[in-house]
Structure formats: C-alpha cells, structure tokens
Point group: C2
C-alpha cells in the first residue's frame, strides 16, 4: 500500500497540510525543525509522491502517450524511437501503447492514458473515417481537453492536428510505375480494410488505372495485415489471378511475398514485378533489391513532437503532409 | 482539471461517501433516487475514476510496464508485440517505455511506472552488473513490492525472476563456427560496453579462442550500439585490423557492416565472413543470406508474461534460460 502524506502526518504528529507544504516546497512558514522531521519521515517511510495528485496542482505530468498499431512494423518502430528521443530532449517521458490494429484497443488505451494523466496523445489510429471507435476516441479526448496529434492517418476534425504523408500519391506512384512498365494485371495486397493509409493507397492505385484507361478489377485486391506472414500467406491468392506484378502496401508484406515466390521458384522481376512501401533499411540489401515508396518516418515523428509541444503551449499548429517518393530498384522490370 | 467525487457531492448536495459508494458499486444502503442522481451527475460532469485511487482499494490496476532499450531493434519489437498480445489475452494493458540504452532512463521509467501504479514490470535493463543504476532500479522495485521480471539480461538477486537466452553460448557458437572455417583474426562488433548481453557474447568469443589456443587481441573488439548505423560506421575500424571475419552482436549491425563492405567493393564471404545475431526475418532473403545466431524472441516474451502472471498470483517461479542456435548461411566460408 502506498504511503500517503496522511501516514507521515500521523507518524510524527503534525497536520497533513504541514506535511504537504514541506513536501511541495511551500514550507516558508514551517520551522526548520519540523521541516527536517517531515523530510526524515518521508525518507524512512519511502514516501512516493502521487503524480496524479501532483498533476492536479501543476496540471502537467510531463508525460505523453503514443498509440501505434504494430511495433514489429519497422516503420512505426523508427517513428516511435524518434518520438521518444525528441520527447526526452524536451523533458517529456513517453508511454507507448500498441493496439494490434484493433479499434477497441484504441479506445482502451485512450482511456488508460487519460486516466494516467498524460499531457497529450500522439495517435496512429487503427480505424478509418467510417468507424465509430475513432469518433469515440476523439470524443474522449475532446472531453478531457487533452491535445491530440494524429500521425500517419488523418481525420478531419476540430481538435486534432494531423501529421501524415500523402498515401494516395504513394499508391499512385507505385502503380503508375508498374503500368509504365507495361503491366496490366497488378495485384494489390492491402493492409487491414478499415485502415485509412490502406484505403488511400488503394485510391492511388485506382487513379493510376484510370490514367491508363484500365478497368478496376476487385479480384486483384487482397487484404493483408501489414505483417510479413500475411504477404507469405496471401501470395498464392494473388497468383491465382494471373497477376504479372504485385503492389504490397508495405515492405514487411513484400518480404513475405518474396519468400513465398522464391519457395515456388517464381523469379522476381522476370516472372513477377514487386513493389513495397516504406523503404525499410534492409530493402536495398535484399537478394533482389526492392522497388518501394519512401515516406520519411523519422521526420514525421520529429514533426509530430514539435507540433505537440506547440499544442501544449496553447498554439494551434497547421496540419503537415509529407510527399512520398518512388525508389526504383531491381524488383520491377518491363512486362515481356 | 479532473472532476472528483467531491465535486459531484457538492453539485448535488450529498456526502462524498455516498458518491463513493454509488460509484464503487457498494450502494446497497443508498436509495435508488439518490443513486440515480449520483450516476446522472457523474455522467454529466464527465467523471473519470482515478485509477490510482481505485488501485488503493483493489490494489491492482491491471496494467503492466515493459522497459526495453531500443524498439527499432526488431528483436525487442517482436518480443514487445508478443508480450502485449499475451497481456491483452489475460486482461492486462501494457505501457511500453524505451530507454535508448541510457541507464538513467531505466531509473526514470521505473519511477514513472511505479507512480502510475502498474502491477508489475518486465524489464530489459540497459546496464550491467557493475552499474549502480541497475541496483537503484531493483531497490525502487523492492521497496514498492512490485513484481519484476528481468528479460534478456539477467541479474542475480532476491526479487526478480530472469527469462533470458544463453548469450555466452551464443557468442561461443558464432566464433567457434568462424574458427572452424580457419579464421584467426575475428573482429567483434559489440553492443554498448555496459550491456550484459554484450559482455556475455564477448565471454563466449573468448572461450572459443581459448579452445583453439588463439590469443585474445583487444584491438579486434570494437564497440557498437546495436543499430544498423553503428555497423556501417565501425566497419572500417575493424578492417584496419586486418580481420578476415566479423562477428556482429546483432543482425541490425551486421546489415550496416554489409552495406559498408558492399560500398567498398569488399565481397562477403569471399573477402570477409560475417556472422550476426538474432535471425531477424529478412536475414535469409539478403543478397548474401546471413549466418546468424537464433534466439527465440517470441517464446521469451510469452514465457515472461506467464512468469509475471505467476508472480502476480504470489508464486515464485524459476528462472528460464533458452538455448541459442547457430544458423549457417552464405555469409561465412572457409578462409582461403
């Protein structure tokens, strides 16, 4: 059981407010003898100040929360590491929570972080604009009056600031590259259906098709979960549609696809061209270096913290949208 | 400012204890009319129960803390993801904290998590047995009476349970493999000097040398930080020592070394043999598939949660040590 200032007061026979004044450094009216007695008792009894209670006075805990879907995705891991370092530079500690793309965990961790008294939340939501869980999270944050910064997935609203990269453009660049190479049947391995980044990349895929006057075939769109295993597992489903190229919505899944193709003796890029997304740091060293879409994870993380600090200083910063870039390597080639 | 039960009591003119009894479900003595009035006010005023205060009654918050050095290291990321999932399965939420291998951050986050009232802490310490920060963390946890599970890095002590893999044996297996291939000058790119995993792998390196009657040359030992960049940056320092093989203490650094070697036109394994550690999921798909040491990150994470749940149930589980395995791929070959 935690030791309270009441316990200390009882132990040495002084009032609770005397103990409180000493331990909060507002002891100008307390005698040196009493002050020492309180401090000695606090040490002996191993008193630990209640941060929540302290927060009620200072209204700040110097802690921030970061909620991300999946820390095994190196894209989020890099972002989280930069955010942690930037927070530490500014005297903030960071609690990181992972939701495994479960919207109900978004709500759970929003509640938990609010209960822990964080000063603000940086949030990569797992849910799309049509899902009511996202609205629930924002409503909780609105009511609590806690600054919120939406990272990676935007959401037009009155309270949050968005720091994202242009996923529609990223999807467009990936698929236009494949169409330029003469591919017509381009398979698409998406993230979880509700995920906004995934929906936007799919919109970009469709825009590229339209530009090339190609029809949209829903059978070429297969759902993954952004993990390597789902690339491996869903590869055969795409192959059954006679695709000549695959756009995987992240590098982790592209790696899984590559593993399965290699196992089946299907060559990249001779038999199948492959594009990933994120430009993870191993992609240029693969057996077949991967064509991919770069988005600046570190810069996004750093910007997110800068914007959060502005919000904590009662400013209202602008949204930021970063531009993705196509990086062409050996995994894509002209359709023969 | 958070709404308290006192605010609710004042608003509707009842006692604080009445509000408390209603909101804690101990309202058998309260009239239905009053109960409804309290509940309505709590809703309207957006009352949020203080988890710490609730914890003082139930003595449990159903939250756990996990402290790791670096989440961009996929080994820790995989472990963290498994721990989060296993916690969720058992009704626990997880706060993840990263320390960037700074012992003072170990202490900071130990304090923060204790203040937040977590029920237990899973801890990958950044510090070695000789560093007083580790002792400080354990002392804090001992005084708070909070169960602690040390993961990845062990520490003989009276309170913590250890779940680790045998790093001395892992280092031994890596270097013995290189010595068997005829290499004599084996460079060693360690983690941060204080890190226990790093020290143990170095002990294994020395044991292998002894077995082959080779002298230990401290100039062949170079310090890295377990990140890709440090492999890239320190590669030239090792090359200057005329090594014919390099043992990098994790795959992230091995990747960095590989990038630098490729840039310099030095071939793996023809000119330099390379061994990593962790068997990350991209290592079998690299241009030159990487020989490495496997340690079961997922199984370690899962075991850690099982042991923590036992500790929370007032049991005292045994330490667990997992055996590492050598995985031989194309990055190592006989010295010509």
């Amino acid at each position: 059981m935690a030791v309270t200032i009441k316990d200390i007061a009882q132990r040495i026979g002084v009032s609770v407010s005397t103990v409180s004044m000493v331990l909060n450094g507002k002891d100008y009216r307390i005698s040196p003898a009493t002050r020492e007695k309180v401090e000695a008792a606090a040490r002996e009894m191993n008193y630990r100040p209640n941060r929540m209670a302290a927060g009620l006075v200072t209204k700040t805990s110097k802690t921030l929360g970061l909620i991300v879907p999946d820390i095994t995705n190196s894209y989020f891991a890099e972002m989280a590491a930069v955010i942690e370092a930037k927070c530490a530079d500014n005297g903030y500690s960071l609690f990181l929570c992972t939701t495994n793309y479960m919207p109900e965990h978004d709500v759970k961790y929003t509640n938990l972080l609010l209960e822990q008294g964080v000063d603000g939340i940086l949030f990569v939501m797992s849910v799309d604009g049509h899902n009511h869980r996202a609205g629930e999270c924002l409503q909780l944050l609105r009511e609590a009056g806690v600054p919120i910064l939406l990272l990676d997935q935007e959401w037009s609203n009155d309270i949050a600031v968005n720091v994202i990269s242009d996923n529609e453009q990223g999807g467009y660049l990936a698929v236009r590259h494949l169409l330029e190479l003469g591919h017509v049947r381009v398979g698409s391995l998406t993230g979880p259906a509700g995920t906004q980044t995934s929906q936007k990349r799919l919109s970009g895929y469709k825009r590229a098709l339209q530009e090339y006057d190609l029809p949209f075939d829903p059978k070429l769109i297969v759902e993954g979960n952004f993990r390597t295993d789902s690339g491996y597992d869903q590869c055969d489903v795409l192959l059954a549609q006679n695709v000549t190229a695959i756009f995987a919505y992240n590098d982790m899944m592209a790696l899984g696809i590559y593993k399965r193709l290699r196992e089946k003796g299907i060559r990249v890029p001779e038999d199948i061209s492959l594009v990933g997304y994120d430009n993870l740091n191993f992609t240029d060293c693969l057996e077949v270096p991967l064509t991919t879409i770069y988005q600046p994870a570190a810069q996004m993380g750093e910007t997110a913290v800068v914007k959060m600090l502005q919000m904590l200083a009662k400013e209202r910063p602008q949204d930021v949208v970063f531009a993705p870039k196509l990086i062409i390597r050996a995994s894509t080639s002209p359709l023969l």
